[in-house]
Amino acid sequence: MIEIKDIEKSFGDTKVLKGISTTFETGKTNLIIGRSGSGKTVMLKTLLGIHTPEKGSISFDGRIYSELTRDEKRSLRTEIGMVFQGSALFDSMNVEDNVAFPLKMFTNKRGREIKDRVNEVLERVNLVDANYKFPNEISGGMQKRVAIARAIVNNPKYLFCDEPNSGLDPETSILIDELIQEITREYDMTTVINTHDMNSVLQIGEKIVFLKNGIKEWEGTNEQILETRNKSIVEFVYSSELFKKVRESLLEEDDEERKQDLNIKDE
C-alpha cells in the first residue's frame, strides 16, 4: 500500500500538485485520471522519486520515502517497476536484453538463469519469438508488452504505468489493461496507472483518483464514477464523443418513455 499525504510540487512559480492525499491499495489497479496537463505524470514521477515534493510525505508499506537512507532508497527503487508512456525501451538493445537489463544490473543471476527468467516473463506478457528483435522492429502494442515484461522481471512490489494505452488501438488497449490487472493480482503488487482513457477507467478502475488543476477533485471506484454528481467528473466522463452519444440516446429513450407514459395517462 502506498500512502501519500498532502503532496505539493512546483516547477518555478507554477504549482502543479497542490496538496494531494490518498492511498493506493495492494493487489489492485489504482488509477490516476484527469485531462492532459492535470499533473498525472508529475504525480507519478513524484511517487517514483524522480521529482522531490516540496511538502508532504509518501510512504511505501510504512516506509516513509523522505526518511530513508540513500541505500534504503536504492533498494526501494529495485522494488518498483515502471512502464513509461512511450515504453522507453533501450533502442540499442534487443527485446531480450531490454528485459534482462534490471537482472544484469541489480542481481547476481548468471546467463542461463537470466535467460530463463526473461523467457518466463516474455511468455507471461504473451510475447514469444520476438527475443532478438529491436524495439523499432516491433509494433507499439508489442513494445508495451516488452516494457511491462521489463518492469516486472525483478518481481516488483509496486508497478507504475504512465498512460499505458497511449498510441494503441482500442482492442490492443483492452488487452494491455487486462494484462496489467491480471499481473497485479498474480504478483499482489500495488499498481498505479495514469490514464485519460474512459474504457480503462470503467474496465480496471478498482480505485480511481481524479485530478483537476493539481487538486484531488474526487476519488472512488469505477462503479461509483458513473453515479456521481460531481460536475467535473461528469464533464470528464462524458467528454468523449462516444459517451456523449450514448448519454444522449439514453436521455432520448427516457424522453420517449416519459412521452409514452404521458400518452397512456392521456387516454
Binding site: 522519486g49 515502471m82 513509461f84 508512456q85 512511450g86 522507453a88 525501451l89 533502442d91 544484469k104 544490473m105
Partner: protein, 233 residues
C-alpha cells in the same frame, strides 16, 4: 555534475561491454574519415609549402620540415578534433538526447542506475584512446606530404626524409599529445552533457547536436590557444 560520472559506478561486467561498444563507435568508427582527411591535408600542406618556396637558396628539405611541424603541431591535434566534434560529438549528443526525450534516461534512473555514470563514463574511457587516433593521423599526414612532394616532383624522397628529421624537438610531441588528450576529454564530455540536459522533442535533439558542435569547437579552439600560450611561448 562531473562528480556524478564517477559516483556509484555501474557493475563492471556491464560497464566493460559498454566501454568496448563506445571504443568501436567513437574511436574505431572515426578512423576512416580521420585517415582520409589526414592523408590529403598532409599532401596539400606539402604542395602549398613547395609552391611558396621560390627562393632557390632555401633547401627543398624545408618542405618536409614544414609539413612535419604543421601536421604534428596543429593539423592532427586541432583540425582533426574539430572534425571529431562533428563526427563523434554530434553522434554523442543525438544519441544521449534521444534517450532523454524518449524517457530512456528516466527509465535508467527509476531502476536506480546512475545514468550519468552509465552513459558518460564509458565515453570518457573510450576517448583515452584518442591520442592513438591522432598518432595515426600524424603518421598519415606526413605520409601524404611525402607522397605528394615526391610524386608531384617538388622534392626528392631522400631530401624529404632528411627534412622530417631536421630540428626535431621532443617537447613539441609532448605538447601535441598533451593537448590531444585534453581535446579528447572535451570531446567526450561537452557533447554528452548537451545531450543529457536537453529538453523537448526530436526537433530539439537536432538543435542540441548543432549547439553542441559549436560549443565543443569553440572550447577546443580556446583551450588550444591557452595551452599553446602556456607551453610554447
Amino acid at each position: 555534475m562531473i562528480k556524478e560520472v564517477f559516483n556509484k559506478p555501474t557493475k563492471w561486467s556491464v560497464m566493460k561491454s559498454l566501454i568496448l561498444k563506445e571504443i568501436d563507435d567513437l574511436i574505431i568508427g572515426s578512423m576512416g574519415i580521420v585517415a582520409f582527411i589526414s592523408f590529403f591535408i598532409g599532401g596539400v600542406v606539402a604542395i602549398q609549402t613547395a609552391l611558396n618556396l621560390t627562393n632557390p637558396l632555401i633547401p627543398k628539405s624545408l618542405i618536409a620540415f614544414a609539413t612535419r611541424q604543421s601536421v604534428i603541431l596543429e593539423f592532427a591535434p586541432t583540425f582533426i578534433s574539430i572534425i571529431m566534434a562533428g563526427r563523434a560529438g554530434s553522434y554523442i549528443t543525438s544519441s544521449i538526447g534521444t534517450m532523454r526525450v524518449t524517457e530512456q534516461i528516466d527509465a535508467l534512473e527509476v531502476m536506480g542506475v546512475n545514468a550519468i555514470n552509465y552513459l558518460i563514463f564509458p565515453k570518457i574511457v573510450a576517448f583515452t584512446l584518442y591520442p592513438f587516433v591522432i598518432a595515426i593521423s600524424m603518421f598519415l599526414g606526413i605520409m601524404g606530404g611525402w607522397l605528394a612532394g615526391v610524386y608531384g616532383g617538388f622534392v626528392g624522397s631522400d631530401q624529404f626524409l632528411e627534412g622530417i628529421q631536421t630540428d626535431f624537438i621532443p617537447f613539441h610531441v609532448f605538447y601535441a599529445f598533451l593537448k590531444t588528450f585534453v581535446f579528447g576529454m572535451l570531446l567526450a564530455t561537452i557533447p554528452s552533457f548537451h545531450g543529457f540536459y536537453m529538453k523537448g522533442g526530436a526537433l530539439e535533439v537536432g538543435k542540441a547536436s548543432t549547439t553542441s558542435f559549436v560549443w565543443t569547437s569553440v572550447v577546443i579552439i580556446t583551450v588550444n590557444y591557452i595551452i599553446t600560450q602556456l607551453l610554447l611561448s
